[in-house]
């Protein structure tokens, strides 16, 4: 009796996999091949691709290794979304598929294409090197192996989630800024940098942070949260990015970069008026020269359309600003206290 229940639950569907194809030796541009195969419930996208490779077309090329969601080899876009083929159930994808019984499989974005579903991971490795994505231990090599560092569970928890990263590059593929500029540090590298920077055994914090605040670094992130949303290990990547920025402001000061100046402007405006003074935000972020060069033509248009933000004196404070300011400053005292007790 149980066997028959199982039979029933297995079920089968004919599913068409629309696979991105490109062989640089023969193809002048990419195209798609359709492969329709019977798929029973419980089968993953990777198993389907394996089936296609073994039974229909041996030339379909993709990477796969552990097939268990831990090695990160089989990152690809399944119906547009970057994920691991090995942990993605075909029937789950079909349930959300726009075209019935069709699954589109494409290579990850933002990395150079090698062949079919295979992209070059070297740019990511190069960035890991550029941003010193390793612990440079405060312990000299000759001393190692004798004594453990004593690390609190609290410190461990600071980097625990970040060390879940398997470098599958799904976040890299989904990143808005990388799409706009391939030089950008990348979410995965920011995550790893954060993980190293909060490790008390590491000696490179300042050096790494100095690299992270440069052009194409941490301040270029546009907060789109695509990295976090696509992370196959559900790592809160934006927390790491925010963590680096918080650290940068604390260690390198509010006036360090345009990014930190921009962020700090919010804090000071809220304290003063409870409202953002947008008119001077460009100047406070990038200085007068930049603002004149970059925004003047647009400002003219905006003035014509009466779209310019009001000058600072005309920005009305929020109602009840006096009490608000007191409360805001009280919190500033709390934060100071926190810092003192933290430093102890």
């Amino acid at each position: 009796m149980m066997a028959s229940i199982d039979q029933h639950k297995e079920g089968k569907k004919d599913v068409t996999f629309r696979v991105f194809r490109f062989n640089p030796q023969v193809d002048s541009k990419p195209y798609f091949d359709d492969y329709t195969i019977p798929v029973e419930r419980g089968v993953t996208v990777l198993r389907s691709l394996n089936y296609i490779k073994e039974h229909i077309d041996g030339s379909v090329s993709f990477r796969a290794f552990c097939q268990a969601g831990i090695c990160g080899s089989c990152g690809m876009r399944v119906n547009g979304l970057s994920q691991l083929a090995c942990t993605t159930q075909v029937w789950d994808v079909l349930a959300k598929s726009r075209e019935p019984e069709v699954i589109k499989v494409e290579p990850l974005r933002n990395l150079p294409l090698i062949k079919d579903l295979i992209v070059d991971m070297d740019p990511l490795v190069d960035k890991m090197k550029h941003y010193s994505n390793w612990v440079d231990s405060i312990m000299p090599e000759a001393q190692m192996g004798k004594k453990e560092f004593l690390i609190s569970e609290e410190e461990f928890l600071r980097y625990d989630k970040a060390t879940d990263c398997i470098l599958c590059a799904s976040c890299v593929s989904e990143c808005s800024i990388l799409r706009a500029n391939k030089e950008y540090v990348s979410p995965a590298v920011l995550l790893k940098s954060y993980r190293m920077n909060v490790d008390s055994r590491d000696s490179l914090h300042d050096h790494r942070l100095a690299a992270l605040v440069q052009d194409h670094g941490v301040w270029d992130c546009t907060h789109c949260y695509r990295c976090q949303e696509s992370c196959v290990k559900s790592i809160p990547i934006m927390d790491a990015i925010h963590g680096i920025r918080e650290d940068a402001i604390e260690c390198r000061g509010k006036k360090d970069t345009s990014g930190s100046k921009h962020a700090e402007a919010f804090m000071s405006d809220i304290e003063k008026k409870g409202k953002l003074v947008e008119a001077t935000l460009p100047i406070r972020t990038n200085g007068v020269v930049w603002t004149l060069q970059n925004l003047l033509p647009m400002a003219m248009k905006m003035i014509m359309k009466r779209r310019t933000p009001p000058p600072p004196p005309l920005v009305k404070s929020a109602k009840g600003i006096k009490v608000f300011r007191e409360m805001f400053r009280e919190m500033t005292e709390h934060v100071k206290q926190d810092h003192k007790s933290h430093k102890k």
């Binding site: 552990c66 569970e153 625990d160």
Partner: protein, 567 residues
Amino acid sequence: MKPFDIVIVGGGGAGLYAAMEAMKTNPALNIAVLSKVYPNRSHTSAAQGGANAALGNKAKDDTVEMHIFDTIKGGDYLADQDAVNVLCTEAPKIIRELENMGTPWSRMEDNTIAQRPFGGATLPRCCYCSDKTGHTILQTLYEQCLKKGVIFFNEYFALKLSVSGSRSKGLIAMNMKTGRIEAFAAKTVILATGGYAKMYWNRSSNAAGNTGDGQAIAYRAGIPMKDMEFVQFHPTGLRKSGLLITEGARGEGGYLLNKDGERFMARYAKEKMELGPRDLVSRSIETEILQGRGFDSPAGTYIHLDLTHLGSDLIKSRLPQIREMSMQFEGVDPIEEPIPIRPTAHYSMGGIDTDNFGRTVMDGVYAAGECGCVSVHGANRLGGNSLLDILVFGRIAGHTAAEEAGKFAPGMISEAELAEQYDAIRSGMHSSGRYERYGELREELGQTLALNVGIYRESSLLQKGIADIAELKERFKKVRVIDTSDVFNTNLIQVLELKNMLDLAETVAAGAFARQESRGSHTRTDFPVRDDANWHKHTLATMVNGNVTLGEKPVTMGRYELQERTY
């Protein structure tokens, strides 16, 4: 390319530790690491549990000596005791060293490295980082290698050891990105390519690439393989993928049910039921399947691991990983229905015969990790000792090679030798009369190994297995490589991997047939007891004229006399 002092094949825990240690031993050396995957993809990342070391953080009275004894006993007295000594003595040092260089470890309340109990260990000595210990160790080693500027040749597939007389000249490998065959002339070569248990194919929890490439090229170069018949099976692998469902599921009260809905473990281990030792539970499940009490499915026969009675809350809070795995890889939510499982091959105790310094019989060739066999695991490996093995002996091999590289003159690999490899590959694509599909052969190899060289072994079954493998090797000569392109030809790579598995399968079956006793993971129904008088020795499988020839090697004993292995 200028000759290398050391070429390391494999970028997992053993290979990366070897690279780091070699650079440390002699920074002037020219060292390269070749890997068919990016090193951070290596199978080391799949080890969840941890690494054993008698740090005494959890159990203050733990000692290296106890770790040694547990390991020898767990290996059913087939391990070499001097090697086990090295493994366990080096353990605390190497775990601390990893910690010192930045590996994240879970922590005890006193901020030391956390330890937990593990099967076969007298005291809790398994050091861990949540359920991702191997992953975090691999990340750390890769990061440290990047920091040290190790030269990586990623996505290179090793084809052959180039040999001159009794010594190696280096390695011939294919650059997968271009399809070019390249020579790596080298004074020394360290093989660290991991295990061979993937030859059981979808009856294995291993990564698709754990095809014994290092062992195979060494074997074909005439280097002996040790104790190849010892393959460890885990009782609860997922039906479709072979991936492991950890013991935790049964620890929390999961039932094993056959197709009649019966908790069959009552027949095999009345008291311990589902929580009997791994090998016993594996054998019990296999018996149910063999006697027709399993469920049939296109993906093979299986039984049920039922958690539904545990309730949604317990499953969600205590077994979230298991639930996620069942849903991702099997499409089954264990809250609602039982998980289809069957035993799965997951570790190979055997490998390239080495001494305690990682040396093989061939000058300039070393091996370490699951690829090698020192032997520290004997007939059965303890949980938590595999990560330890790759770290300790990876480091030792790196050190030895760095010290000894100066002894050897650099090799020269001829164009003709490269051309020979190229021609062999091209003929696989273009010569007529090739029609066999590699996928079918691979599937059949896994089938026959699981059935005839699996958990239960017996003379007639093994003979069938040996005959099947021989037939598959014949058919392999007619396998056609369909993808004829140079760039990233994964079709070609999989065919080459199949060749490696076929060659090694022969040694596994031969060893299993010869060993007329039951010891550790090797269970002969026709020889159900351990036979120390005749079989307390290692087997050595060597390729002679293309065929496997078996020899033997004594077990190095030490402080511990032979005893019956009971728990």
